[in-house]
């Protein structure tokens, strides 16, 4: 699987570095995924609404409290008293949050983001409860009857969602691409007019497919791994979503490749309820610290090391 993941990553790298230069599986030396570099949005589709400055979050308030000593009256104290942080995520996004079939544990880059918050609250990253939520429930999950504290689930911070939830500062920069069969000539979403292209229900990827100028037929599934099932059963011709997710899918299918330029920018943030801004500020403080002390880099290398050397983490932007 590792070898296959590497091949798939190589395909991604080639397509990233060489644009549409083809589908050779030989990686170029020195090519970098460079997710923090401004991606070329040469793909079709409506430009994202950035009037609300979706990358900008709430500024941390002073230094972090010591783990296990959350200030009274704050939401962090509520979590500490409960004894565990409830993280909403998925279990089928390889590399970000997926179930390890050998151990049954859910792990990945997103899960580690949650674990780092748990570590900051309790001093113990294991004090975390993972709740799997649907892609179309990610916004509601933080304010549901049984709410989650935090959603880290390859979730794009955009203006539409900022209306309902707070986002943390950006912890990862992704962009939407296309996964097709290794025998396909398609070089991007532009070549998929009239073809069935799958994405998770409720994801921004789905909206981007529907908005693509080449008019592909968007097909919704519960999650992206369900899209891979549909792809392997020949029910859809392609899958389109963030390159990060596609790499994880391609790693599971040697007959799949990731192609095309980035159609969109997908900055990932953690979603938090607007009822307690102090928790958003706390999460941002943890992110700030982890960007500075190398934790972010280590996490990147652990999960996404196959993409190449870790880039600089996305810089924090604040709205206040």
């Amino acid at each position: 699987m590792r070898a296959r993941a590497a091949t798939a990553v190589a395909v991604l790298l080639v397509s990233l570095a060489g644009g549409c230069s083809g589908d050779s599986s030989r990686p170029r030396a020195g090519a970098s995924a460079a997710p923090s570099a401004p991606p070329a949005t040469s793909g079709p589709g409506a430009p994202a609404d950035t009037s609300c400055k979706p990358r900008a979050s709430l500024r941390p308030a002073g230094p972090l409290p010591k783990p296990g000593a959350m200030p009274a009256g704050t939401y962090m104290r509520t979590i500490q008293d409960r004894g565990r942080l409830i993280l909403g995520t998925s279990q089928d996004t390889l590399l970000f949050s997926s179930r390890n079939p050998f151990t049954g544990a859910i792990e990945g880059f997103d899960v580690d983001m949650g674990r780092q918050i748990a570590a900051a609250i309790f001093g113990d990253p294991d004090k975390i409860q993972i709740r799997v939520i649907g892609y179309d429930d990610r916004v509601e999950a933080v304010d549901a009857a049984e709410p989650v504290d935090l959603v880290a689930d390859t979730m794009t911070a955009n203006c539409d969602r900022w209306g309902d939830v707070d986002f943390s500062t950006i912890y990862y920069d992704a962009g939407q691409k296309v996964l097709v069969s290794s025998t396909s000539d398609a070089r991007g979403i532009g070549d998929l007019g009239g073809r069935k292209v799958c994405a998770a229900q409720g994801s921004t990827s789905y909206d981007n497919i529907a908005a693509a100028a080449s008019r592909p037929v968007p097909v919704a599934r519960a999650g992206f791994a369900d899209c891979l099932v549909a792809f392997q059963q020949n029910e859809v011709d392609a899958i389109s979503t963030d390159d990060t997710i596609l790499v994880g899918l391609a790693a599971q299918d040697p007959y799949a490749k990731v192609v095309g330029p980035r159609m969109s920018q997908e900055p990932y943030g953690m979603a938090i309820s607007q009822k307690h801004h102090e928790f958003t500020r706390f999460v941002n403080a943890v992110l700030e610290r982890n960007r500075a002390n190398g934790t972010w880099k280590k996490t990147y290398e652990r999960w996404l090391g196959d993409l190449g050397p870790a880039p600089r983490p996305p810089a924090a932007q604040y709205r206040d």
């Binding site: 390889l94 997926s98 079939p101 709740r131 791994a225 392997q232 599971q252």
Partner: protein, 444 residues
């Protein structure tokens, strides 16, 4: 008078106004006015009623027998097979989910169990196909199941192959398979089960052959009445008080009436017993087993989905649980003997299983997912649950045996009646003809 002439005579002349002189009806009416004419009319009536009684007795017995055989050899086995398909699919789904929950390499025991379930489902499906008429919802359900089960098996096989390689997409294959089973295959099995249950209900109607029986009773009464009228007429119009052949004919008719009454009443009483002690508890216990399997499946799938507590009122487990409780109560109330012991034991194991389920939910909801999984797939919980389904299975077998017993008893005597009915009726005809011909010849 020859029988050829008799046959031409309409047995029941309708109230026709002033038939033309010389016509057939005019001649029949004219017969009433002479003594030999009256005797001829009575003989005709006796022969007609005798022949009809014989015919209807044979047909009633044959229809009741065919109905009973259909019930025992087709409808009830179809119900059992439909239940087998349904419960095997539900169990396969649950087993696959548990193997997945267990993580790592699939436990060999669960794999065997899953394969066994699939075998049972396909075998039962093939034999159910033979028992189902080629049109109608049951046949459609069988067609859908025949194409759906291989698709389901293929999805589970893909899930396993991916799991073995450590690819998370295996989980999605499994959930696609589970969705296929729950949204399409199990509902089709339910359609089959319900239509089999309806067929059993109809089968009881067919086996009772009430219309035929009613007609037979009317004919027997008519035959007896005509015999009595004839004898009264003869003893009044002649010097002989008794006509021996007619007396014997009356006795034979009474014997036929008695035999018919005994055989049909016996059949009906056994059918009632078969319905009460066989079909009804079999359907009830079969449903109970399906609901129990679904309970465990829901328990496992809630853990697989990791989506936290289901919304109150929308928990499929609760719905199943209510239905299971209702059926266990009903089954317990009506049962006796070994079935009762088994149902009581099932109720006890159910309580233990419910407690285990509550502990699993409590662990999961307090964030102790790993412990919840361990408890859910662990040996003690599995033992409790297997004991529950085992009890239900035992009660089911006991009730199936009771059904077979009663249906065999119900069929007894019907074959005899099929032969004896027409024979005795013919004897009545012959005796009536003998008894009356002597009198008619006196008028020559």
């Amino acid at each position: 008078m020859s029988t050829a002439q008799l046959d031409r005579v309409a047995p029941v002349p309708g109230p026709v106004a002033d038939p033309a002189p010389g016509g057939l009806l005019w001649r029949v009416r004219a017969l009433r006015h002479t003594s030999p004419g009256r005797l001829q009319l009575l003989l005709t009536a006796l022969l007609v009623f005798g022949v009809l009684t014989g015919l209807v007795a044979g047909l009633t017995a044959a229809s009741a027998r065919a109905g009973t055989d259909d019930l025992g050899d087709r409808a009830q086995p179809l119900l059992v097979e439909a239940e087998t398909i349904y419960s095997a699919l539900a169990d396969a789904d649950t087993t696959a989910a548990q193997a997945f929950l267990a993580g790592g390499l699939e436990p060999a025991e669960l794999t065997r169990r899953y394969e066994g379930d699939l075998d049972r489902a396909t075998t039962a499906l093939m034999s159910a196909a033979r028992r189902t008429p080629p049109e109608g919802p049951a046949a459609e359900a069988i067609r859908a199941l025949s194409s759906g089960i291989p698709r389901y098996a293929a999805l589970v096989a893909s899930a396993r192959a991916n799991n073995r390689q450590g690819l998370p997409v295996g989980a999605s294959y499994l959930s696609t398979a589970s969705q296929l089973s729950r949204d399409s295959l199990q509902p089709q099995a339910q359609v089959l089960f319900r239509s089999a249950r309806d067929e059993v209900d109809e089968g009881y109607g067919g086996a009772r052959s009430s219309w035929w029986s009613a007609l037979l009773v009317i004919l027997l009464v008519a035959l007896l009445g005509t015999l009595l009228v004839t004898q009264v007429h003869l003893s009044r119009s002649t010097r002989r008080t008794f006509n021996v052949p007619l007396l014997v004919a009356t006795a034979v008719t009474l014997a036929l009436t008695l035999t018919t009454a005994v055989v049909l009443a016996g059949q009906r009483s056994h059918l009632t017993d078969a319905a009460r002690d066989g079909s009804a508890p079999v359907a009830l216990l079969a449903e109970a087993r399906i609901y129990a399997l679904r309970e465990r499946g829901d328990d496992a799938l809630t853990l697989v989905a990791r989506q936290g507590p289901p919304e109150p009122g929308k928990d499929p487990y609760e719905v199943n649980s209510r239905e299971l409780t209702r059926r266990l109560d009903q089954a317990g109330r009506g049962a006796a003997g070994p079935a009762r012991t088994a149902v009581e034991s099932a109720a006890r194991n159910r309580r233990d299983w419910e407690n285990a389920h509550k502990r699993i939910r409590a662990l999961d909801e307090s964030g102790r997912y790993d412990e919840a999984v361990k408890l859910a797939v662990g040996e003690p919980t599995t033992r409790t649950f297997t004991a529950l389904t085992g009890d239900l299975g035992r009660a089911l077998e006991d009730r199936k045996a009771a059904f077979t017993r009663e249906i065999d008893a119900a069929g007894r005597g019907l074959g005899l009646l099929t032969v004896l009915g027409p024979l005795l009726a013919l004897a009545v005809c012959a005796l009536a003809a003998t008894g009356l011909r002597a009198r008619l010849e006196e008028y020559r």
